[in-house]
């Protein structure tokens, strides 16, 4: 089955966070808890719902990810934007994400590919 992580926005500052191994919430994608089976997914959703109720995180939900050489990457492009940052503002990059940001030089035909990995 597909791999998942849980994501949401932190209530107090709105920033994108991921459910971490220790049950807390982290901004670092690499520290997110990768969920491997349905049973675990159900458990983590319950945990996340509790965190929403406890006013820690807003409307958490699971997303599909891939894991290559240990590197976790969201599948949906929209989730990659949430995880890595707005493609037009590399200054606001949240994690290392080669190829995510629009090239900064004058190469006008450098469309940032959003094809699935």
């Amino acid at each position: 089955m597909a791999l998942h992580i849980i994501t949401g926005n932190r209530l107090i500052d709105g920033l994108v966070v991921f459910l971490a191994e220790d049950g807390g919430w982290t901004e670092t994608l690499a520290a997110s808890r990768v969920i491997e089976d349905d049973e675990e997914l159900a458990q983590m959703k319950t945990l996340a719902a509790a965190a929403a109720k406890a006013a820690i995180v807003v409307e958490p939900y699971p997303i599909d990810v891939t894991r290559d050489d240990g590197e976790v990457r969201p599948v949906r492009y929209r989730e990659r934007i949430r995880a890595f940052g707005p493609s037009i503002h590399p200054a606001f990059a949240k994690q290392d994400a080669a190829g995510h940001f629009a090239a900064e030089d004058d190469d006008e035909e450098s469309p940032v590919s959003r094809k699935r990995a």
């Binding site: 926005n9 209530l11 107090i12 709105g14 994108v16 037009i88 006008e108 035909e109 959003r114 094809k115």
Partner: protein, 551 residues
């Protein structure tokens, strides 16, 4: 400009206190997100992809330098050092923290600003002509009535939970610069046969999923009846607007499904009950607000000094900037100056806090301390002496605000798109930037002539793509970003909705497609014929052929 009295100030102070309490209840968990959402939306607070977003109201786009400095302060202190000007004359911040929002609103309140009703299902910012007060063709100053409508529509107890958002625009010139035909209610100021100034009231215009041009409900409403007439429309909408389907909840759907004649009958029946009552607008209040919009201390000046003419001859870049970025002022010796927020490489409409401070200083020096935000995401200095234009231009260049592209293809109107917005299907800004780069040569832009290119990242059309001469809509096709092109839209008094040309283009083909459209236009245009004129003369076939011929 309008200055708050004790009543205006107390209202926004009370709102700040109320919101502070609501945020505290949210942070403690007492309010769930579902309960908090409509409350935060009434204060312009969205939760988007990366963070909260705060939309600050700039009533009819008018700002003082003092207010702009505060906007800079907020960007610097609470956000990431920049703000984004929108297609409704507001400003947005993309990174505020919820816990800071009460303080941000308190800072705004200290300069007579707020974020009330910039989102949610109530009245939004009432917009007006960015050339109000200085355009020779205006009947009266549209801002006066925009301010009257602003107050009447703020925290209206009956209309704070409408089926959907509600946008009103006021114009007072035969040349419409407000997109009045594409608003939920449009107010067109004009004279009747007796020379009395009143309002043509339109309803049911809008863009989004189902673009529609507004319809006239009443051709002439005298000033004193303005608020009662609007209230009658709102009551009909509040009671009969659809609440079963979010995408069918705007008043345009009600007008369309009811038919304008029946809709008018309902409105007039309601109005008959409430006119000549306590909603009549007293002349004393019109006078009080009019007093706030008196012309500034203009000097008596010759229209164009010899030095100015000399500079025009000698400095081609200056002349180019004058041609694109300035407009005629009704007063001799003055000019309207548009600051382009569309330099190459910058997301359209973005301004750094340093630029905001610079613009505030320049407004003080060159334009009586005021400026306007336009619905095309630029800024306007309304009252610049022609003798100052050269010096101002030098200053604007230093701050990257003098790109001579206003009204041209480089002056792209663009929503934040998938890079920021939770509603988007595709990114918009990178494509806009690539188009701008392809056409960055100014000579080429000026040769192409007036061209409104507008882009949206989803069908909500915040980039107003339906009314672009060239409109581009980002769509998601099986996980890929594709771009659909429309042609022939127009937001002025000859309102039209763009025609879809054909299948959408992938991201790496869309810039070429736009270039092909421009080339087609250049090939077939008559002398002096602008893009939109050519399109209206020849229709979409030549453009369609060129775009899709080489399949």
């Amino acid at each position: 400009m309008y200055r708050y009295d004790e009543f205006d100030q107390r209202l926004i102070d009370e709102r700040v206190a109320q919101f502070r309490e609501q945020v505290a209840r949210r942070l403690s968990g007492e309010l769930t997100e579902d309960e908090f959402k409509p409350l935060r939306l009434m204060n312009g607070v969205y939760l988007q992809l990366h963070a909260y977003m705060l939309r600050v109201s700039i009533p009819y786009g008018l700002l003082s330098s003092r207010q702009l400095r505060m906007l800079a302060h907020i960007a610097r202190t609470y956000d990431r050092d920049y703000g984004h000007f929108t297609t409704r004359q507001n400003i947005q911040y993309n990174w505020p923290k919820l816990e800071d929002l009460p303080d941000i609103l308190a800072d705004l309140a200290s300069v007579e600003m707020h974020a009330i009703q910039t989102s949610g299902n109530s009245f939004r910012n009432t917009t007006a002509d960015q050339y109000a007060g200085v355009a020779a063709d205006e009947v009266e100053d549209s801002r006066i009535y925009a301010e009257i409508i602003r107050q009447w529509s703020t925290l209206h107890p009956e209309f704070s939970f409408l089926p959907r958002k509600f946008k009103i625009a006021v114009t007072a010139s035969p040349k419409d610069r407000t997109a009045v035909w594409f608003h939920d209610i449009g107010v067109i100021m004009h004279r009747d046969e007796q020379g009395e100034v009143g309002f043509e009231i339109l309803a049911g215009g809008g863009q989004g999923r189902t673009p529609m041009i507004g319809k006239t409900v009443r051709k002439f409403v005298p000033k004193k009846h303005l608020l009662s007439y609007l209230e009658a429309i709102m009551r009909v909408y509040n009671m009969l607007g659809r609440r079963d389907n979010l995408f069918k909840a705007r008043i345009k759907i009600l007008v369309h499904e009811t038919g304008i004649d029946e809709f008018r009958r309902l409105v007039e029946a309601e109005w008959a009950q409430i006119k000549n009552g306590y909603l009549d607008l007293p002349q004393a209040e019109i006078d009080r607000i009019t007093d706030h919009f008196q012309p500034p201390a203009y000097e008596t000046l010759a229209d164009a000094s010899p030095e100015f003419k000399k500079k025009l001859r000698e400095d081609k870049d200056f002349a180019t900037w004058i041609t694109a970025n300035t407009a005629a002022h009704k007063r001799s010796g003055y000019a309207i100056v548009n600051l382009s927020l569309k330099p190459i490489g910058v997301p359209p409409g973005d301004l750094t806090s340093a630029q905001m401070d610079a613009v505030a200083d320049l407004a003080d020096r060159y334009s009586f301390g005021e400026l306007r935000a336009t619905h095309e995401q630029n800024l306007t200095f309304a009252d610049v002496r022609k003798t100052d234009l050269y010096a101002l231009w030098q200053e604007l260049k230093k701050h990257n605000l003098a790109t001579a592209n206003v009204g041209l293809i480089g002056d792209i109107i663009c929503c934040p798109g998938l890079d920021y917005c939770a509603l988007a299907n595709a990114r918009s800004i990178p494509v806009a930037q690539r188009i701008a780069r392809r056409f960055q040569d100014l000579k080429r832009q000026h040769d192409i002539g007036p061209l409104r290119l507008k882009m949206s990242g989803c069908i909500n059309a915040c980039g107003h793509h339906h009314v672009g001469h060239i409109g581009i809509l980002g769509v998601d096709r099986k996980g890929e970003e594709y771009y659909q092109i429309t042609l022939g839209g127009s937001a002025d008094e000859h309102a039209s909705i763009g025609d879809i040309l054909g299948p959408a283009f992938p991201s790496d083909k869309v810039v070429d497609a736009v270039e092909a459209l421009i080339d087609t236009y250049l090939d077939i245009r008559n002398d002096g014929e602008a893009f939109l004129e050519t399109y209206r003369r020849v229709g979409k076939e030549p453009f369609k052929e060129r775009l899709y011929a080489t399949a």
